[in-house]
């Protein structure tokens, strides 16, 4: 049993990390009342920028390259998400449509620029990806140390810590209260002197930043290069994690970890005695089936923020 956990947990952690980052982005955006289907596109953008920056500046920054790449990807992701903010907040466009446009646009830009800059359909592999490490001190703890702290990626723990930070920001600061108020009842918030537009812009940009981080972390830990098929569905899985986690940062993190755990288990299970007889297909679809079951009954109704997806028009009732 411990052997199984030893192989499941580290893989679950690195699989989940990009999903956690992106899902947190989704939580911020949706909590403020802006539906963000564009998470996938934001991840594509992040992966593209992360890989390109890494390839270009690997010689300059050495071992720090992956971290700086993530930072740059976050900034570009934030800027890119402004498109979604302008369309859905200022111009009150249908947010789902705008999100879909973000997805198309990001993939188009990424593939087009790869073609222009490298003259091929995919980039080379990056020379400075994230690499796994043993976390000092903690990795020496018996049993748990090997399970959680040996051969893990630091980015996974950054993601988990960030989930707690996000929870603190959303639930313990006045900024968070305002952000949630804007998503629940924008008119009431407006009456109390909160600038709805500004809050929503901020939230969408935060989601862009986190989506960019998620995409670049995925590219720099897992895929190592960028092509049209680098990000396929991870953004939508993050979106599912947001809903599965009931629009709560810690819930979203839990859901993302659960996806990672199930995914990892489906592969490791081939070596587990009583699971090895189960056809692999069933294990591969298990995470998604479990999500549907969980949404249908286990966790009760997933209630979205009241004003999610509704543009705020000043003065209307």
């Amino acid at each position: 049993m411990i052997d199984i956990l030893n192989s499941v947990i580290p893989t679950a952690l690195f699989f989940s990390a990009p999903l956690i980052f992106t899902a947190l982005g989704g939580v911020f955006s949706e909590r403020s009342g802006v539906v963000n289907i564009g998470l996938e596109g934001l991840m594509v953008m992040g992966a593209f920028v992360g890989v390109v920056f890494n390839l270009t500046f690997a010689d300059v920054f050495g071992a720090w390259t992956p971290w700086i790449s993530v930072l740059v990807a976050a900034i570009i992701g934030g800027i890119f998400s402004i498109i979604h903010a302008v369309a859905s907040v200022s111009f009150r466009a249908e947010q789902v449509v705008s999100g879909v446009a973000i997805n198309f646009l990001a993939l188009g830009i990424g593939v087009f620029l790869t073609k222009q800059w490298y003259d091929k359909g995919q980039t080379d592999m990056v020379s400075q990806p994230f690499s796994s490490t043993n976390i000092p001190v903690l990795s020496h703890i018996p049993v748990i140390g090997k399970m959680f702290f040996q051969g893990v990626y630091t980015s996974s723990y950054v993601a988990i810590i960030l989930a707690f930070v996000a929870w603190y920001v959303l639930y313990k600061t006045s900024f968070g209260l305002r952000l949630r108020a804007v998503g629940e009842h924008p008119m009431a918030a407006d009456t109390n002197g909160i600038n709805v537009t500004k809050m929503r812009y901020t939230a969408v940009i935060i989601s862009g930043v986190l989506g960019g981080i998620g995409g670049s972390v995925f590219a720099l830990t897992i895929a190592a290069n960028f092509s049209a098929t680098t990000i396929v569905g991870q953004g939508f899985m993050s979106l599912a994690a947001v809903i599965f986690g009931k629009w709560h940062p810690l819930g979203a993190m839990g859901a993302a970890l659960f996806f990672g755990f199930a995914q990892s288990l489906s592969i490791v299970s081939a070596g587990i005695p009583y699971l090895s007889n189960v056809p692999q297909v069933i294990l591969l679809i298990a995470p998604y089936v479990l999500t549907i079951l969980a949404l249908a009954g286990f966790i009760g109704r997933a209630e979205a923020p009241k004003a999610n997806g509704v543009p705020y028009i000043k003065g209307s009732r």
Partner: protein, 366 residues
């Protein structure tokens, strides 16, 4: 009112993106189309072209290889791109049909469809234009004017299996497949047979990722296999394999003394395995689509009727080979063993199995 404007804006944005993306690929084709109009018919009396899969001619895989073959063929006969040979890029699956039709209209005598994804479209076009010759790579289309180009992947896989069996210290090797299909099972079967031929006690761990584009699953599978004591993994899984390489490189980076190896597929994946001063790519099972394409184009040009035939390229025609780029890892001992078994396959002593049932029989005969 305002809302409608935004809709229009978004639609325009999408359209712009798609056009931009398309430009990157088809711009070149269009240029050459212009040139062709000027010169066509002057000196190229036999013209060949190809329609790519969605990968495009720079996918570092079979599309690129096919295009290299076609270019080599053109060079051999003094043609230039757009005058004698050309390609049409497909950006998605709905492009296959228009691309094929365009090339037929441009009077190409021989048109290659690269990859099994084009099977249905080639079949349909072949029926409509019985006077044009077509070729399909990696699948079989039974039409009198279509030649099917296939490879004996099992032979190359057998040889890399021999290399893996010689290299492993733990007596455990792994196979990571993309989507389970008869084609990928050829790789799997050949590999298993090759490993068992050297040492029947070696355990082969076989796993499928259910996708050719899931590096994350590739990485999880590889991580799990290496944890389990597997030290050589042969992947036959396209982009999913990136995850396998990534995991092997990560292990090597943290612990340069540990022996972990990856065997590449389709082309020499030496470059992918580089990590610092080490290289985790043991060898690669190379599929020379270029040689096959060039060969078929030449034969068709000479007037040989190939339609309806299924050609199989293997070790014999150099359609399949084993990369020897990693000199350090491929010791003399391994190279010798690979050569020995290659000899046995070539002179017919060994018949390499290509399905799982055949593998079982083969194991019994050992």
């Amino acid at each position: 009112m305002k809302k409608r404007n935004i809709f229009v804006l978004i639609v325009l944005l999408i359209a712009l993106t798609l056009t931009l993306a398309a430009c990157g690929n088809s711009g070149k084709t269009k240029d050459s189309g212009g040139k062709k109009a000027e010169k066509s018919g002057e000196d190229a009396d036999y013209k060949a072209a190809m329609v790519t899969d969605v990968g495009g001619i720079d996918d570092k895989s079979f599309n690129q290889s096919s295009w290299e073959g076609l270019q080599a063929w053109g060079k051999e006969h003094g043609y230039s791109k757009g005058n004698g040979f050309d390609y049409a890029q497909s950006t998605n699956e709905s492009d296959y049909m228009p691309n094929l039709n365009r090339l037929v209209r441009d009077d190409y005598n021989l048109i290659f469809g690269i990859g099994f994804n084009l099977k249905n479209d080639i079949e349909e076009v072949a029926k409509q234009f019985p006077d044009t010759e077509f070729a399909i790579v990696d699948d079989v289309v039974e039409q009198p004017n279509v030649v099917s180009i296939n490879f004996k992947e099992q032979e190359g896989s057998f040889l890399v299996g021999v290399a893996a069996a010689k290299k492993t210290k733990t007596n455990k090797v792994g196979f990571v497949g993309g989507v389970e299909s008869p084609l990928i099972q050829k790789f799997e079967s050949g590999f298993v047979a090759g490993v068992k031929s050297v040492n029947p006690d070696i355990k082969v761990d076989v796993q499928y990722a259910a996708s050719f584009a899931a590096p994350d699953k590739g990485k999880i599978i590889a991580s799990n296999m290496y944890n389990d004591g597997v030290d050589v993994i042969y992947h036959s899984s396209g982009g999913t394999g990136n995850g396998v390489f990534n995991q092997a490189k990560d292990i090597k980076q943290n612990d340069p003394d540990r022996d972990v190896w990856v065997i590449g597929v389709d082309r020499d994946q030496h470059e992918e395995g580089q990590v610092g001063d080490h290289n985790v790519t043991l060898t690669s099972m190379v599929k020379r689509v270029d040689i096959a394409v060039q060969d078929v184009a030449n034969k068709a040009m000479e007037g040989k009727h190939l339609g309806g035939e299924t050609l199989e390229f293997g070790l014999k025609d150099e359609g399949i080979s084993v990369a020897m780029t990693n000199k350090e890892a491929m010791t003399d001992d391994i190279v010798k063993a690979v050569e020995e078994w290659k000899e046995k396959i070539l002179n017919g002593d060994v018949k390499v199995p290509k399905t799982r049932d055949e593998v079982k029989e083969y194991e019994k005969s050992l």
